[in-house]
Symmetry: C2
């Protein structure tokens, strides 16, 4: 008898009929001889509706209170899902994050899970019930309600699977797996049967939306086999698991693209030790996530520093950088929000020199200029003009042999 | 420094603008030098919306899961109310029922409060915060979410006031106090400045909607001064308090009317000991609340038993009565759902014989037939045809001297 954790996102529980579908799938899994825990998100649109209400009540909503409001979205879904399972003749019991002992830190709106008390879940499974757990939420040591931030339900599912020693964690979404790239950009994109945690992490970090980074980190840390599946088809989906020798040995597994970043360029800063810290410490303190950073060692004691941030953080970042200008001896600050980041990811890269240089050649041949480059062991990211994004992804997809064979 | 509990119902928190009004009123009360605890209901319409979702998920919703869904309504309001107070520059903190230690029994959807842990509330007040508490909800000993049933937020407010020793509990609603009768029926109805707990209980039990019976019972038991006020005006409202000699010594304080009951008449049952128990035990077991009961001692070993129940319970009650027919030797069962109950209430009645007979005369003079009569120490209830309800209330209101003086 296996123990399966199934997580259903907002579109999979978007209305009562879809919730009944979820109930049917969970019951079928149980009747096939498994213990089943279901983790659900808020019905699609609900979290946004609740956050808008909070915004209307106070222009700068306190995050503790905002979490109290937002956490109700998932609470509604667990009740409805348990009811739908019961309506089909099954046994089910719902649990809020606090009820199932999901203890987090007190970073409201972006809390991190510290521990999960598996006892109540095990009792429910022991009674033959399907346990329905609210994603996205927990409580801190003082009993305050916390939320894990956007996409937090994936993290809840994997954390529950890790805590209870589940045999698999299935993430149901509106796509049927992980693709070599966004099928909307490249129709020839291919679905992967398997992908390593490391590759999935790099793809997620590079803009692929299919899984939340923290959930993949959790799965990797606790070795939880993670399936990405569609709640609307019976396709087996993509398995995200430890890298193994039998895995498809592609040099490149996927290409991610991301149009949500903007570039800040600080020209002519005084080139002395500690200058980077003086720029990036205040940005970190303001909770601005900086992605790519490039520093050109300059001439005449001056250097240029460029970095990318999320587009929504650009005004705040610019304000901080301008405030530092005198201190840094800055000559000029420029920004560009018409950029895209294209990333090539693959564990095979480790043993293949030349992936980066081949990528540069492909873009050069297509007449695309590269503004920034960043590499890791299994990833090459390039920042280009936004208008060239689709072209770049298509060219790279073909060049690295990822296009699906005819008729596939 | 006084400690005031303020309770705001669904229409008072019906949208974000109204919630801001609630925030202003709570802050004004605090700035006048009081400690303030605010208890709120779900935004109007929200509880119905949630219960409909539960009904859509399962035709016969399990009450534990239904409570999980329904309790989110109040949770949204506490967060928004705390945010609105903060938005106006005040300090506030929200608490769900479980967070403030409202321990109930496990009768889902109609749970009763067992105890309240006042420590967290006192800590919040000690920090200068307005504590915003979710009405209608609590948790049982196993940590399951429970709800107190319709109108339960009044009960929460009074229970919190009693637990923490508040100086007053103010119930804000869409009317500005307790009237001698429903002003929609009798335009000459007068607002009462004071009313005793006992009278308020009888009025509430007789159909006046202004306060929930359980909340009045709680207030009486713990001697909590209870104000009924409007959240839309600055009218002082009506004070519900222990009977005292200085209280307006009216023979009759108010007249209540209720069109939500139906009558069941069981004719010709075998008249032997225990027959009433054989009828009313199965009704109680089915959670049907029986109001008036009349048994006519019969002739030839046969008796007639009549009783009233809520209209919505009529089909269930009828099913039970028909099932018992053979056992009781019933000759005939008749029902009537076109009835109204008119009740006269007043502590002055105790010392005035003849209130009941005067009421019968008034109705007789108006040509209204009385189908059932029931009396208590401070109340006379009469069941009449529904179509005569308004007429009966108006005639009684005038006859007992309750009409407001001209120009009042």
């Amino acid at each position: 008898m296996a123990l399966i954790v199934q997580k259903y996102g907002g579109t999979s529980v978007g209305d009562v009929d879809r919730i009944k579908n979820v109930a049917r799938r969970a019951l079928a899994t149980q009747r096939a001889g498994n213990h089943v825990i279901v983790v659900v998100s808020a019905m699609s649109g609900e979290t946004n509706r609740l956050l808008k209400l909070a915004q209307a009540a106070s222009a700068r909503p306190d995050e503790r209170e905002q979490d109290v409001v937002a956490a109700t979205g998932e609470q509604v879904t667990i009740g409805l899902t348990a009811l739908a399972i019961q309506g089909l003749g099954g046994k089910a019991r719902s649990f809020t994050g606090p009820q199932v002992g999901i203890l987090t830190d007190s970073a409201f709106s972006k809390a991190r899970i510290r521990s999960i008390d598996k006892e109540r879940l095990q009792q429910a499974l022991g009674r033959g019930e399907i346990a329905v757990v609210a994603g996205f939420q927990g409580e801190d040591e003082e009993g305050n309600i916390t939320t894990l931030g956007r996409g937090g339900s994936d993290t809840t599912a994997v954390a529950v699977a890790a805590a209870i020693g589940a045999d698999a964690c299935e993430i149901y979404t509106d796509v049927d797996g992980v693709y070599t790239t966004d099928p909307n950009v490249v129709p020839a994109a291919r679905k992967l049967h398997k992908i390593s945690y490391e590759e999935m992490l790099e793809l997620a970090g590079a803009g692929a939306k299919v899984l939340q980074i923290r959930s993949v980190e959790f799965a990797m840390k606790y070795n939880v086999p993670l399936w990405v599946k569609s709640s609307f088809t019976d396709d087996p989906g993509t398995l995200c698991c430890p890298e193994d020798p039998s895995m498809e040995q592609l040099v490149v597994s996927g290409i991610a693209c991301d149009r949500n970043e903007a570039k800040v360029e600080i020209r002519g800063v005084t080139d002395k030790p500690g200058v980077a810290a003086r720029i990036f410490k205040p940005l970190a303190d303001a909770n601005i996530v900086v992605d790519l950073i490039i520093q050109n060692v300059g001439h005449g004691g001056k250097a240029d520093v460029s970095f990318t941030v999320g587009k929504t953080d650009l005004p705040k970042a610019l304000e901080i950088v301008r405030r530092l200008a005198d201190d840094l001896g800055t000559e000029k600050v420029e920004t560009d929000d018409q950029i895209a980041k294209v990333s090539i990811v693959g564990v095979g890269m480790r043993n293949h020199a030349g992936v980066a240089s081949k990528a540069f050649e492909v873009l050069a041949a297509a007449g695309i200029n590269i503004a920034m480059i960043s590499t890791s062991e299994i990833k090459v990211s390039m920042v280009i003009a936004a208008k060239f994004m689709e072209l770049a992804v298509r060219e790279l997809h073909t060049a690295f042999g990822l296009d699906a064979p005819e008729g596939a």
